[in-house]
């Protein structure tokens, strides 16, 4: 079911299985290093990675392994110290752990603001925003304000807002970490459906092993201090999985074992 491959990411890039081997990667990261400050600790070390268009990649690691930093660098919110990051489509949409909706705007207006900043003409925004909210099944909540929505609903509005940006790449930084398990389970399905419908390239950062195994086509495990890509798993088969399914469980056990090895290395 799963193929565990060698830890050298550059080799993967070369024989990337990908759906269309000829197309250039959506995101190419080359020998990326990151240090905060001139002589701060090395947060990311020699990360080389390429992500195919339409791929769903989960970036997994313990707290402080630099996965969020890596995501911020891809998003352009932070600069690499060494190496390069190329996003083929120019820029990426980002979703954060907290929905970060603007509290003075209704759900609909929040989406409309993203459309406005993208340059969509005024008269088209309203209809388009409703369409996008309908994608996440929230068209009825368009006139509600963020404080009137539950956490899961807020994250779905945030998802609609990032879809409004109409970028080919969607970066997600632990977007469901603060939600209860029932809601999270539903949002996994929702996200998977949106991904299949829109063909976005998704990079999904999480510290939840099962979540990564449930969602990703490819799971990248990062080691901590410095952050490196320690291993990667490709999930064969294109069918949607359920979080309770045996293949997810099996993969989770395997990933957890290695994750613990990585954490143990820091004990000494």
């Amino acid at each position: 079911m799963t193929t565990q491959t060698d830890t050298r990411p550059d080799i993967h890039a070369a024989r990337s299985p990908a759906i269309h081997p000829a197309t250039p990667p959506a995101i190419r990261i080359d020998a990326l290093g990151k240090r905060f400050g001139a002589d701060g600790p090395l947060v990311l070390d020699d990360v080389t990675l390429s992500i195919q268009p339409g791929e769903f990649v989960c970036l997994l690691g313990a707290s402080g392994c630099g996965k969020s930093t890596l995501l911020n660098i891809i998003a352009g919110l932070d600069r690499p110290s060494t190496g390069t990051v190329t996003v083929a489509s120019g820029s990426a949409a980002v979703m954060f752990q907290d929905a970060a909706l603007f509290p003075w705007l209704t759900a609909g207006r929040n989406v409309e603001l993203a459309l406005k900043l993208r340059g969509v003409p005024r008269e088209k925004r309203r209809g388009k925003a409703l369409e996008l909210l309908d994608v996440v099944n929230l068209a009825d909540a368009a006139s509600k304000r963020p404080h009137e929505l539950s956490g899961g609903m807020r994250q779905r509005v945030a998802l609609a807002r990032s879809l409004a940006q109409d970028r080919k790449v969607l970066l997600m930084d632990e977007p469901f970490a603060a939600l209860d398990a029932i809601t999270r389970d539903l949002l996994h399905e929702e996200l998977e459906r949106v991904w299949r419908e829109t063909g976005r390239t998704i990079v999904f950062v999480t510290h939840n092993v099962r979540e990564a195994a449930r969602l990703g086509q490819r799971v990248l495990l990062m080691s901590s201090r410095p952050g490196r890509i320690a291993n990667e798993w490709r999930l064969a088969g294109d069918e949607p999985r359920r979080i309770e399914s045996p293949e997810v469980s099996r993969l989770s056990i395997e990933i957890t074992e290695q994750l613990r090895r990585e954490i143990r290395r820091n004990a000494a």
Binding site: F102, P103, W104, S150, G152, R161, R193, E244
Partner: protein, 314 residues
């Protein structure tokens, strides 16, 4: 929901795949129904109070307290019979208000003071707002001017009256100068702290959504800073009103019009304690009226829209 397959998965790790049908085998509507159900469960039921009830709850307790205090006062005057020129009763004060109304001094004083307070406050807003913006966005300026502005907020603006009289003579300019020195620092500081309290995450989202510097300021930072700015405005009004009264009491005559402060001072010169107390009540009343009719409704709307209703259940 599908039956839980996790135990089956643990028991038979390799052969149980068929136990869990792929999610898309179910109709897509199923997810929608599920989601709607969960949304309905998590929805917070509305607890909005009727406006009549809210007004009753807000108005009745202070009115009762006021009536009680006046009754106690009247009782004291009736029983202890103090010298009426030292302790006038509520009826004397009421009489003084009636007399001032009858000869038109009351209307003139209230209108003059309200106009000056209002105009002075608006000028203070016009100066304080850009000043606050500059301070919030320009770091060197803030380092230099920030402490001075905070200091000015502490300095009672009455202290400017003698200087203002020497500069501008007994004219309205003196009054406005004192009002501005009182109100501008509060308004500017309110805006600065409002901007400082904008969650950095909102700025990041703005940037991610593609906002430029100007768009980030007008579409994200300013709306987010509005509650802080508004409380600065409220404080600015309070300072305007206080400074105005101080200025009117001290600076009388010349071309300065007849305001509530002037009325207070006039009553003192006539040793008419009933009128003095009546004027104090008027000054207090105007302040409360402005707060209730101008600031409170705007503030309530502002906070309710953001789910920050003061004392609310949400």
């Amino acid at each position: 929901m599908q039956p839980d397959t996790s135990t089956a998965a643990l028991a038979a790790p390799s052969g149980a795949v068929s136990d869990s049908p792929p999610a898309d085998a179910r109709p897509a509507d199923d997810l929608r129904t599920l989601e709607s159900g969960l949304d309905a469960l998590q929805a917070i039921p509305g607890t909005e109070k009727g406006s009549l009830r809210r007004i009753l709850e807000g108005v009745l307790p202070p009115v009762f307290l006021l009536l009680g205090l006046v009754a106690a006062w009247q009782l004291y005057v009736a029983i202890a019979r103090p010298r009426p020129d030292l302790v006038p009763g509520p009826l004397d004060v009421l009489g003084a208000i009636g007399a001032a109304w009858a000869d038109g001094r009351l209307q003139l004083a209230v209108l003059t003071s309200l106009e000056r307070g209002g105009v002075g406050f608006l000028i203070a807003v016009a100066i304080g707002t850009p000043l606050g913006l500059l301070l919030a966005e320009c770091r060197p300026l803030r380092l230099a001017l920030g402490p001075l502005l905070s200091g000015l907020q502490v300095l009672p603006s009455v202290a400017w009256v003698p200087a203002a009289i020497i500069w501008f003579g007994l004219s309205d300019a003196t009054v406005y100068f004192v009002v501005l020195m009182g109100a501008v620092p509060s308004i500017a500081n309110g805006l600065v702290s409002g901007i400082d309290q904008v969650p950095p995450q909102l700025r990041r989202v703005g940037t991610v959504l593609g906002a430029g510097r100007i768009q980030l300021a007008t579409l994200v930072v300013l709306p987010a800073a509005l509650p802080g700015y508004f409380s600065g405005l409220k404080q600015g009004w309070a300072f305007s009103w206080r400074s105005l009264m101080a200025a009117e009491i001290i600076a009388m005559g010349g071309t300065i019009g007849f305001g509530l402060g002037s009325m207070l001072q006039q009553s003192r010169e006539l040793a008419d304690l009933g009128s003095v107390l009546a004027t104090i009540l008027l000054i207090l009343g105007v302040g409360i009226l402005v707060e209730l009719t101008v600031f409170a409704p705007v503030e309530r709307r502002l906070l309710r829209r953001r789910g920050l209703t003061p004392g609310g259940i949400r």
